[in-house]
Symmetry: D2
Subunit: 342 residues, 4 copies
């Protein structure tokens, strides 16, 4: 099989990462690469690490340019994917790395994004119950947010096994690439190096309803989430510390067993041996998820902690993994399982 | 007044920081500096930033060497402070930056530290209710742990004002200096740069009972704490994200008012204007505490987040602040309020 | 003495640093703080570390606002200082932290800055031969560039003692704050963390003629400089590796002796003991210069390496040190000698 | 072809990196993995990023364990490779990532390493003139040092084209992984983050004679090198700033032409377009070399700057590249050309 793929938004971090992965994907040929303000520039000037693609010229993002490919990856600002997708045929696989088609509830969308809801596409987190079935053969994929990926993989086993009460508290640290490539003063190296800081505190982060959606689906009842994201002094990586009160009578052994069962056959989720804790460095640049869970007998809480690369498994890797499923390719094709460490 | 101060454990990070502060303290003259394995070396070889003290020679830690000073700062491994303190007169102010005398409950001590309880000294967190009274004139001070400092300052106002339910969930990120200067592979720069990782997960961290002690005292009832510390890729700083369920009927305005009242007159605690969040970079090298609080109306939780420098306000700065009170000096003498930023 | 000082350009890194130092200066009262695009904002929103000044409001930079102070610090873009200074009386001490008045040669200025030369003011590097005499009592000071400060202090002793040939090769690494606070994509944390990169290669950096000016003055003949600056993944600090061919017959002992003699009485320059090398962390936030020199007998080169904090000794600290001299205050007043380490 | 490969010294950084690459190499099956003090441990406990190999148990390093493989990679301390290699058959390809067989001059070896010279093997820097011929079919490979790789690729074209005088000045910044995984206080994260520092100044670094060897071979005459290595606050990467006086009459165009010609057909060396400068982030985890060269007309110097990943192209990637040549495989097999950025 030879799949021709285009990437819209190729000048940003998500676009660059999907190009990095596609360049190493044995079944994919990279076609058009498009951008908005960088259109007309050499890709090598904007993404200097992408040497094999350095001489490609960024085209202006348009349906005309993107048409004629088997797969189109969209790494566009919120609200722009629907218009582009509509102009692409139903036989083109459109993989949206933005937020537009992630949420099922239109009211949630409108409250958090302030614009009309565009719809809901099959959700590109294959490890969720039922997700692979929905992804197989689809031509539209909504790639999850980076935080919801980390949090859902950490807590779904607890909720699916009815081990946890329906209120989760999540504090996650993200590398700065999660904030994108637009130059803002608070994202300058001088500001972020040597510093930890929170943002979107108090329930305002747009990824919160997506977490609630996934955990509630697993629990079969509404799960509330208190979510605090923090910015960490590193380019990549998410460490999500996810806790929930254990239901009465739950034991540490039951918790461990639920996680072992949930991820026994997952190619990318690595439940660490007991006593070993994840570090974001171990998954740097890879599609791997490192995960550990503990039960605090004093506080009666389950603490599940996951580490992912926000740009790989959290965005572009999850996108390629879902593409593989949609196209009937082996799910792990072209996806590194080993992080670049140290 | 001229206060002669000795520092035991001067080769480590806490010892180095207290020397940095004392060197700029207008009422203090630095006397003996002692160490264990580094004894006999020039201080300049071990702490190259302490230029004015570079030619001092580290002496072996002993009561003989430490005697004859007005104040003795102890930065020793757990369990070693009691023996030294006993040999110093009751007129010498002993400021213990270790854990030995922090906990009131002997059973807690023995469970978490595995050795007999040495006793309890006045607790060097002046911002706690009643603390200044206990510190005034004392000749023994137990400096709090760095995490308990950050967490207590963040949550005590909520518990003192009866705004929060009695189970707190805390996730805190610390710079690597909190782990000390002993060379361990997982603390190598190659391992920690670009990486976030948790440790002591599930209730095992020794600072947990100290947090419970402080929050329970404020609440007037036992407060449980789920505490997860994480190691962040920065040398200094703690960002503590502290949340607790709000009691029924509590409003955002009440929460804000409680914090404004609690810290209106505190010289080092800076409650930020609404909408601005703390960053550890802003307190780098200073004794300041930057703090913000929010109420999440969906999750019904109070989220209080504090930023401190773990070595300054979290250790050596808190020690000097408490010394000032004990000796009747103005509390802020010799303590920087402005962090080194960016 | 009570000195009233104003700071123009208080929203940037140089302006913030001079305010940090002035807030701790026992003889200075801070008056007006001004900015351009941030005018009207609270200083606490722009410089959150400056807590004691948080409620000051930034005024628009103008001679009217700046008049009526004893000292005015200018942290303005190149080319704007002359117009402001002209409107301030000759009795006002104007300390320019920009480049406008550093160069003596008008042709050099025009070639590197592309605008007419504004003139030359007494040069604020007190450690240079003759500099203190020129600074005493002056009402105009040109603060050196950060790189020329580090490089001149490293190489002037070799040239003043006629130990080195007249071609120096300098490679220096700077923290990102040297590039300022304007948000540019290549200065994002995501780009700079984990990365070293050069810029201004091949002789184009504007600090090159300033280095040549200082070294040539010391040598009594023109000294050429090959200068390559690099951007390092840290907020602050310059490490300048400066090498020059030794003149025939020069010995290692002569080199050492020249440096010991040059800096024996300098309050801020710390020539390290032989075998110990400087690290930028040791001078973090301080006005100290850590320096070491070696003689490579195979390559017949002198290698002098200096570490400074680019914002402190390299900019704002050098400015305050020179102000102290101009006003007849003890030179070290208000200037930390100990870095914040680790 | 199926190549069975063993790795001795698999617990360290070089060993871990070669395993990461071999795990993605389509022609290699990983056999024994050995260590010294970590023998008996699960690889997953020591190298947590190597998930597919997590359950492998480290064996004690011995010729018996290593025998029976087609290729043996040695990542051992200096001086230990010869004894192991002697016990392996002449038909086994031994790839030494240590220093033992790099130098041709026994006196140089003895001076810098203080032990008897073990010999000289074909040198694993395929981009050097004649290197591929020597590597084809060989069963013994000496992988170059990381700094000599970066420096030789930067300066050999200038010397091979007789453009430069015979004295080079090199200042290079390295990530901390170059110093290895042994826990030493000065390599702690607390010490290295936010800090630049030099080491091995004045001609003492052991990579100096290796650079001289390579540059002299290219020049056809002895080239002296003044080399100053510095430690940068990043885990990986080398940025080598290499300068040499241009010979009389040399023009910028000649310099550019020489480099374009030298690297026109090299798969891993990427000479950047004029005006664009390398950054270590762009080659993170890849075998790519990013390179730029300039001519400073004032200083009459050629400045060539290269960026490599010290663990990949600088060690394990160079090892695999050379293995591919020795075994007759396509040279780029299994080697990423795209760095993990940002």
């Amino acid at each position: 099989m030879e799949v021709r793929a285009a990437v819209a938004g190729a000048s940003g971090y998500a676009g660059g990462e999907v190009l990095r992965l596609l360049a190493g994907h044995p079944e994919v040929e990279i076609g058009a690469v498009t951008a908005h303000s960088s259109a007309g520039q050499r890709l090598g000037g904007v993404q200097p690490h992408l040497v094999p693609l350095a001489d490609r010229v960024l085209q202006d993002t348009s349906a005309e340019v993107l048409a004629g490919h088997d797969v189109v990856f969209l790494a566009l600002p919120h609200g722009q994917s629907a218009a582009v997708a509509e102009q692409l045929g139903q036989d083109v696989l459109v993989v949206d790395m933005g937020a537009d088609f992630r949420l099922q509830d239109a009211a949630d969308w409108e409250r958090f994004y302030g614009s009309p809801h565009a719809g809901t596409w099959p959700y590109g987190l294959p490890e969720l119950p039922g997700a692979r079935t929905a992804l197989a053969g689809t031509r539209r994929i909504a790639v999850p947010g980076c935080y919801p990926t980390a949090v859902s993989l950490a807590l779904v086993p607890a909720y699916a096994a009815a081990l946890a009460e329906d209120e989760a508290v999540v504090v996650a640290a993200s590398g700065t690439s999660g904030a994108g490539k637009a130059a803002k003063p608070h994202l300058l190296g001088s500001e972020v190096m040597g510093s930890m800081s929170p943002y979107g505190v108090g329930g305002g982060h747009r990824h919160t309803p997506e977490m609630i959606q996934n955990l509630s689906a697993a629990a079969g009842t509404r799960v509330g989430v208190s979510f605090t994201p923090t910015l960490a002094p590193m380019p990549r990586g998410i460490l999500a510390t996810c806790t929930a009160k254990a239901r009465p009578g739950v034991t540490a052994a039951e918790v461990r067993a639920a996680y072992e069962k949930a991820y026994a056959d997952e190619p990318f989720v690595h439940l660490l041996p007991e006593g070993q804790w994840p570090a974001t460095a171990s998954v740097y640049g890879s599609n791997a998820v490192h995960l550990q869970v503990a039960y605090d007998q004093d506080a009666h809480r389950i603490i599940a902690i996951s580490a992912i690369d926000n740009l790989t498994k959290g965005t572009a890797g999850g996108a390629v993994q879902s593409m593989n499923i949609a196209l009937g390719l082996p799910e792990a094709t072209g996806l590194p399982m080993i992080g670049v460490a140290p």
